[in-house]
């Protein structure tokens, strides 16, 4: 079992705020303050260049990768950190299409996070040679897995609705059709149990600043199935993915195993913060997390639906089909969310009309949900969104 009161006590949360936006940017682990200060003053400041060895900076991308690997069901030694999620999507896709050289279609769905689709477009532009992107509705994905598809690229949990794809079934269907899979776990890692190895996923990528609480701009991760890694010829063949980076050879030779998916110098200060977040994750059982997440989500749905008939559930009602977020549709959703935020309930808004709330048992408990429901009810019942001050949109929403 996991003691979620104990994990909650390890976060710094602003006084009085109910933060249901950990699916966008996770909160600060208290220990990260001292840990980052140490990385700055004692490591960078005192060790300087020797920090790459002495402080273990160079080994962090795989060491932290393995700790994330446990959360997503990866085999030991097959996850590495680095770059941003968009760059990791590009790497995974480029390696995946290479594995199916006689096909030209990348299949995805319209529920995918737009950046994944943009990165695929960029890769296709570089590849030329008839490569094409095929975008279908989420519910049509299974039927669209045909034998002209090279790669199936999906985000497991929809960033707006929380609707979850069946990773195991879709991967099996893909494999039966000779299709390689790339799974984006942005809204899965730290949100629910993931089992990339058990599902037979070929590639998986994700970010660490959402549910994993790694901090703003924390690096992304990539997983490559052991059966593929030795055949991956990295498209982003940076020196730290080289077999011998410090030999400074003029020819690229990919490194051993997942190390070849490294590109450039890793972000040491961001990794220090992420390490503190993973110290908390090391205490968490993912099945217990899932049970707690579902309990919080169900409590929230029931409370909101009982008090706010104007809000229409946009997430699957069946918890088994949902990630760790709940969304409601409301035409004045932007202003309504601003009104909630002004009252200490932080969720977020996704155009055109989605009010999105993330459930993160590491630092949110049932008392928080009770208070959250009361705030939503106040905003909706009293039409607080009508106030003009809530209607001016910020640059980042």
């Amino acid at each position: 079992m996991t003691d979620f009161a104990a994990t909650k006590a390890q976060f710094d949360l602003p006084e009085g705020m109910i933060y249901l936006d950990g699916n966008s940017l996770g909160p600060l682990p208290q220990a990260a303050k001292a840990r980052v200060a140490q990385a700055v003053a004692d490591e960078w400041g005192q060790m300087l260049i020797t920090g790459w060895n002495k402080a273990g900076w160079m080994a962090q991308p795989t060491a932290l990768g393995d700790r994330i690997g446990r959360l997503i069901g990866a085999e030991q030694g097959h996850v590495v950190l680095g770059d941003t999620l968009s760059v990791k999507v590009y790497q995974a896709l480029a390696a995946a299409v290479d594995l199916v050289p006689d096909r030209r279609v990348i299949l995805t769905d319209s529920g995918n996070f737009p950046s994944d689709i943009y990165m695929a477009e960029g890769l296709i532009k570089s590849l030329g040679r008839g490569y094409a992107l095929r975008v279908v509705a989420p519910e049509d994905v299974a039927d669209a897995i045909t034998d002209d598809v090279a790669v199936l690229m999906l985000t497991e949990v929809d960033y707006r609705s929380g609707r979850m794809h069946d990773m195991k079934a879709l991967t099996a269907k893909a494999h039966a059709a000779g299709v390689v899979t790339v799974w984006d776990l942005a809204h899965s890692a730290g949100a629910l149990p993931v089992d990339v190895a058990g599902c037979g996923a070929d590639f998986a990528v994700g970010c660490t600043y959402k549910y994993l609480n790694g901090g703003p701009g924390a690096p992304a991760f990539i997983y490559v199935a052991p059966r593929h890694i030795d055949r991956c010829q990295p498209a982003l063949s940076g020196w730290l993915g080289h077999a011998a980076p410090f030999a400074f050879d003029l020819d690229y030779r990919p490194g051993t195993g997942i190390e070849r998916m490294r590109v450039g110098t890793p972000p040491v200060l961001q990794m220090a913060a992420l390490g503190s977040a993973l110290d908390i994750w090391d205490q968490v059982d993912m099945q217990a997390l899932r049970a707690a997440s579902i309990a919080l989500s169900e409590q929230f749905i029931a409370g909101v639906e009982a008090t706010c008939p104007m809000l229409v559930l946009a997430s699957p009602r069946d918890a088994a089909l949902r990630g760790s977020q709940v969304s409601f549709r409301f035409e004045q959703g932007y202003a309504a969310m601003q009104a909630c935020i002004a009252r200490g309930l932080v969720g977020d808004f996704r155009a055109p009309d989605i009010m999105r709330f993330g459930f993160t048992p590491l630092f949110i408990d049932t008392d928080d949900i009770t208070r959250a429901v009361n705030i939503v009810a106040d905003v909706m019942q009293n039409r607080l969104w009508d106030d003009a001050k809530y209607q001016t949109r910020a640059a980042v929403t």
Copy 2:
């Protein structure tokens, strides 16, 4: 004029250490300790998701980019931060080859940093269609700029020898032959005055953790000449380079100007540290820096040559042809450098036999050089490299 005693006072340097390795990883600006702590506790901790607007995180890549732009002679609004240098090389190269669609050759030299060459190889693999890399000796570059070349990709200052290419002359020769240029400023930015606009450079990239002192894993930067930016269709088309990232459109439309070269979420904690480093750079006149750098380098060369006949100068003797580093060849260079480090003089070693010393007037003065020469003389005259304890190689050298 620049008061270098005042800039030196703004760095934390380990007691008794003479750090001639700022060309590998710059030291800690004292103010970065409080600034990073603020970014962690007050911004991430208290603002959470609103930090993207309230703390200005989203605007940092261009705001910091402009401050670097002054150091490299860029037009205002044409430098943006993000990713690692290898990724920025890839972006620049991919955009550059697009501008010369009827040619297939990327020309570079064997003195380029290997990762630049590796990234070009990776891009060429994705592009197919007859694209090829042509690698010539540094002294043969000018003659190799022929009318079948699409892109000339060079690092201005050689990472081993400090030998400097003539950016203005080579760019002019390239343009006369219809060739687009990509300049890597890894060992130039913060090392010497650079004038990308005056030289007519098409693309430039660089890192911020060396001379710029941005900290381990600090993000890279990219410059695109104003005349090209509107025609650049980014290969790494991430959401933060989109015209409207938060509209979540399914189709990629590049953002305005240099913003389109952004990819994913920027590393907020690293940018905070870099901001403190740039606060010091804002006080520096680049011509004064160059004069001080040459004075320190000449003092070091004269002192070492007068005392250590076994060390052979591997850098150009003419300061005008040299960046801000000095290298000597010595067969037992690795062990000799370890012996120097053990005595408080930190330089670095590059295979097979280069002992490399960086000169950084922001925190190194003539007294430091006097002491550095004495240490090198002690190591060489007393054959201290013979000690077996200096001969075991670390993973990162």
